[in-house]
């Protein structure tokens, strides 16, 4: 692929003796939706933390537009265009919903001494934030403290926040879990729209229907290792995947 | 050489006293994650109650248990009325509560016991020994004996008894300990009982050793011992003892052999910052 945006090259992350991510390589193309699936504890979120700079890889390298990024802290990754959501939602609890989004809108301001002292609550920034909140469907909650939102809306807020960074890559960590059916379809549509704007999406998803439905390609992790990679229909019928997911006994049962 | 051994013996005795106070702090930090500054007031209370009962009865055998009992009650009261209700707030809220308790209790000691230094005229039932010119005073002997006994008993309770198991389990995972039938709030109170009773012993020991009991005697230990539990690794009991002994010996030797321009009490904090730069989790702390 010549328009590769993000590339993981034999990346490993060890915690003490635990190999959370073990020699994983995959690529994300521009404008692609790539699903990252695997059983609980397979290392998916660790992968996200490596890409977004929360963790530094034990070995291997990560390239963004072919520039190595390993070791850059999260805020540098954010300014390079990596936006993410968190599996365990991390709202800025006492800040209102719209302020949460503004934090991300400030990305371009935080670098300069003068620009970082400009006031944040301007008509322009509020309008930008409100547009994003409307997109994810929580504009009516703009002035509620984000800590008081139900989980579903907090997930939408996470998405709005990540979008506010105007990222080149969007990392969605189980953004759909805990949502109702109609919410899932609304946000799925949004993810597709985002992709159509040329933003690449890497998503972790447990709901197979959603994962299979949204993704152009899937990467399956198991015990930190890359188990399979391919189009949804291939993955669906891959016996190794079924076994990893459902256990041996189950694989016989299911097939 | 003789000087060196005397200094060393001294330093270990200082360290032993530190460790008796520090242990209570480490116990409390381990189970509640609170910096228990008021512990130093409990220690002062131990000295006062011990002295009072000793003056009335003339017997240390009565004074020590009485002081332990009163301090245990005091510790539990602080836990119940100040810490437990403030646990859900950021840690500096209970910390300020703790400091307020400490200051209030210092005032109570002054009002009840007077501002003057009281003497603790207990005669120790044995005399000192001299080995090859090295003088070991009865006070130092008793500090060794008492602190060794206390550490041993504490070690036994913490590692060998059901209560100790409950304490350790509660400090590592309070909810899960509860699911095993461990009554967390009772266990926490018992932790305060233990720590405070040991502090009472330390108070009496210091009172006798220096022959002084006064309202502000807790002021230095209150904060210095915080540095010690940080050096030891917050909540680690062996760490607390190790840090105390190291500091006791280190202070003594530094004063004895080097003319340092800074006072002894800031040494603990300098040591703490040095240790933190090297091992941010403390000497024996886990991650």
């Amino acid at each position: 692929m010549d328009d590769v945006l993000l590339r993981l090259d034999r990346v490993s992350k060890h915690f003490g003796g635990l190999k959370a991510v073990d020699n994983v390589s995959f690529e994300l193309a521009k404008g692609e939706i790539l699903g990252l699936i695997g059983p609980n504890g397979a290392g998916k979120t660790t992968c996200f933390n490596l890409i977004s700079g929360v963790y530094t890889p034990t070995s291997g390298a990560i390239y963004l537009e072919e520039k190595p990024t390993g070791g850059l802290p999260p805020y540098r990754m954010a300014s390079l265009g990596v936006g993410r959501t968190f599996q365990v939602v991390k709202p800025f609890s006492t800040l209102s919903v719209v302020q949460n989004v503004m934090v991300a809108l400030g990305l371009k301001r935080y670098g300069g001494v003068i620009s970082s002292f400009a006031p944040w609550e301007t008509k322009k920034s509020r309008k930008e934030a409100m547009t994003l909140l409307e997109e994810v469907g929580i504009a009516h909650l703009a002035d509620t403290p984000s800590g008081q939102l139900p989980l579903g809306n907090q997930r939408r807020l996470e998405l709005a926040r990540a979008l506010a960074l105007m990222p080149g890559v969007l990392l969605l960590d189980e953004t759909f879990s805990g949502l109702r059916h109609e919410e899932i379809s609304l946000l799925s549509k949004l993810v597709l729209e985002v992709r159509n704007k040329g933003i690449s999406v890497l998503l972790i998803e447990h709901n197979m229907k959603v994962a299979m439905g949204l993704s152009d390609r899937l990467v399956v992790l198991d015990h930190g290792r890359l188990l399979a990679e391919g189009k949804p229909e291939d993955i669906r019928s891959d016996p190794a995947v079924i076994e990893a997911y459902l256990g041996k006994g189950a694989s016989a049962n299911a097939s | 050489m003789q000087l060196f051994i005397e200094q060393l013996l001294n330093g270990v005795a200082m360290g032993a006293i530190y460790s008796l106070i520090t242990l209570g702090l480490a116990l409390v930090y381990g189970i509640l994650r609170i910096l228990h500054v008021a512990h130093a007031a409990v220690y002062t209370a131990g000295a006062y109650v011990g002295l009072y009962v000793f003056t009335l009865s003339g017997s240390l055998l009565l004074a020590v248990p009485a002081a332990m009992a009163v301090c245990a009650a005091l510790g539990v009261a602080v836990e119940r009325f100040v810490y437990t209700p403030l646990l859900r707030f950021p840690p500096f809220v209970p910390l300020i509560g703790s400091i307020a308790v400490f200051l209030a209790m210092e005032e109570v000691f002054r009002i009840v016991g007077g501002p003057y230094i009281l003497s603790f005229p207990a005669e120790l039932p044995f005399s000192g020994i001299t080995i090859r010119g090295v003088v070991v005073s009865p006070a130092i002997l008793s500090i060794y004996a008492v602190s060794a006994a206390v550490l041993l008993i504490l070690w036994f309770i913490v590692t060998k008894t059901g209560l100790g198991l409950a304490m350790r389990a509660t400090s590592q995972d309070r909810d899960i300990a509860g699911t095993m039938g461990i009554n967390a709030s009772f266990t926490i109170s018992m932790t305060f009982v233990l720590g405070s009773a040991v502090a009472a012993i330390a108070g009496i020991l210091v009172g006798i050793y220096y022959n002084q009991v006064y309202p502000t005697m807790g002021a230095v230990p209150a904060y210095k011992c915080l540095a010690l539990i940080v050096v030891g690794g917050l909540g680690s009991l062996p760490g607390a003892v190790l840090a105390s002994l190291l500091l006791g010996v280190g202070e003594t030797l530094l004063i004895g052999y080097a003319n340092i321009p800074l006072p002894r009490d800031s040494l603990a904090f300098i040591a703490m910052i040095a240790v933190l730069l090297w091992r941010p989790q403390g000497l024996l702390g886990g991650k």
Binding site: - | P115, N211, T252, P263
Partner: protein
């Protein structure tokens, strides 16, 4: 927000302006003493002694036919509080003169205020040199560190016959100037006196063995151990426990009956240089001792005696000048000569306001401070 601000401000002003004193027909003398906090013991001593002085003056008919009123506040030995309270004493209470019964830091902070207002100030035991340098209204009844240091040198050399001395001082302003005075004496008057070691310990020290172990090896004739009684007491005990045989000399900070309680038998034969001689047969001393002992269940100390004198010097100045006017009282105090004080015969005050009087040397015998000697060489006691 604005509502809140004004409300709180109004409340505060209301609270502050609560207790305006009304000018009554009394002579008012102000006193600041630390009654809470770490210095509470000294403040309490000073207060008790001044109260005895007050009652004695009033029993004898007061000053200029008026009763004397004592207005005292607790300054916690804190400079900020002392500054605010001195304003309170001056404006709300309208005092005529002031007894500084507190430590150096607060006293030094308030001295310029009284100087500016023209109110005479007599410091009881604050030792910072700047107290009297604030101006001509400021006097001190206690010794400067230099004086007492020289006297200590003299005592160690002449009275105790020492040839070698180890210096072990409390590391605070007083301790340091004492050492300077001691060394000055040694350099000027006693070329045969050898200072074998010099150490300082921090104020909150409890464990003196590291220092003492060092001294023990040197085995000096005299140890000059400056410090307060709660420092010197344990120090004496620990020295004797270590088997140190040297004579030990302390200073006025150790002048408290608590010393003997703390040190026990180890205090026997301990010498101090101080400004209070309990064996002085003059009635002023013996009456005070009797009165203090009957009022309180413990022995008076040097801090109290010095505060007593500070109060008495002021009332005496009022009597001799026949006025309570600041300038006149100041002149009267400045002109004091051979005043019969509790802390000895006060020769007078020098041009800066420092007292000139003999330094007392006391020794502990059978658990009591007893007369040992006097240093009254004018060269040595000159401030």
């Amino acid at each position: 927000m604005r509502v809140m601000k004004t409300a709180v401000l109004a409340l505060c002003v209301l609270l502050l302006s609560g207790s305006l004193a009304f000018g009554a027909d009394t002579v008012k003398i102000g006193l600041l003493v630390p009654l809470t906090g770490p210095a509470a013991a000294d403040g309490t001593s000073a207060l008790y002694s001044v109260q005895i002085a007050l009652d004695q003056v009033n029993a004898a008919g007061g000053v200029l036919g008026k009763k004397v009123e004592l207005i005292y506040y607790d300054d916690r030995a804190d400079a900020k509080e002392a500054v605010a309270l001195s304003h309170k004493l001056i404006e709300q209470d309208g005092i005529d003169a002031f007894v500084a019964g507190s430590y150096s830091l607060p006293t030094r902070a308030v001295a310029p205020i009284f100087q500016e207002e023209g109110i005479p100030l007599v410091a009881a035991y604050a030792i910072h040199p700047d107290v009297t340098r604030a101006g001509d209204y400021c006097f001190r009844n206690g010794f400067l560190g230099m004086v007492e240091g020289r006297a200590a040198g003299y005592t160690a050399h002449k009275l105790l016959g020492g040839k070698t001395v180890a210096l072990l001082t409390s590391d605070n302003d007083f301790g340091r100037t004492l050492v300077v005075g001691f060394k000055e004496y040694a350099a000027k008057y006693a070329p045969d006196l050898k200072i074998v070691s010099e150490q300082a310990y921090p104020f909150s020290e409890k464990d003196y063995k590291p220092y003492l172990s060092k001294i023990k090896e040197l085995d000096p004739d005299v140890i000059f151990a400056s410090g307060y009684y709660f420092q010197t007491g344990p120090l004496l005990r620990q020295a004797r426990e270590l088997g140190i045989q040297s004579k030990i000399l302390g200073e006025e900070g150790a002048d408290s009956p608590k010393l003997m309680e703390i040190a026990g038998d180890a205090s026997e034969g301990f010498h101090i240089v101080t400004n209070f001689d309990r064996d002085d047969p003059r009635p002023v001393v013996q009456d005070f001792l009797k009165e203090f002992r009957s009022r309180h269940k413990f022995e008076p100390d040097m801090v109290g005696a010095s505060a007593y004198d500070a109060f008495m010097i002021i009332t005496d100045g009022m009597k001799t000048s026949g006025s309570t006017e600041g300038a006149k009282v100041r002149d009267a105090i400045a002109a004091v000569k051979d005043y019969n004080g509790l802390t000895g015969i006060i020769g007078g005050f020098d041009e800066i306001g420092e007292v000139v009087k003999p330094v007392q040397v006391q020794v502990v015998k059978e658990g009591l401070f007893r007369h040992f000697g006097v240093v009254n060489d004018p060269e040595l006691i000159k401030p």
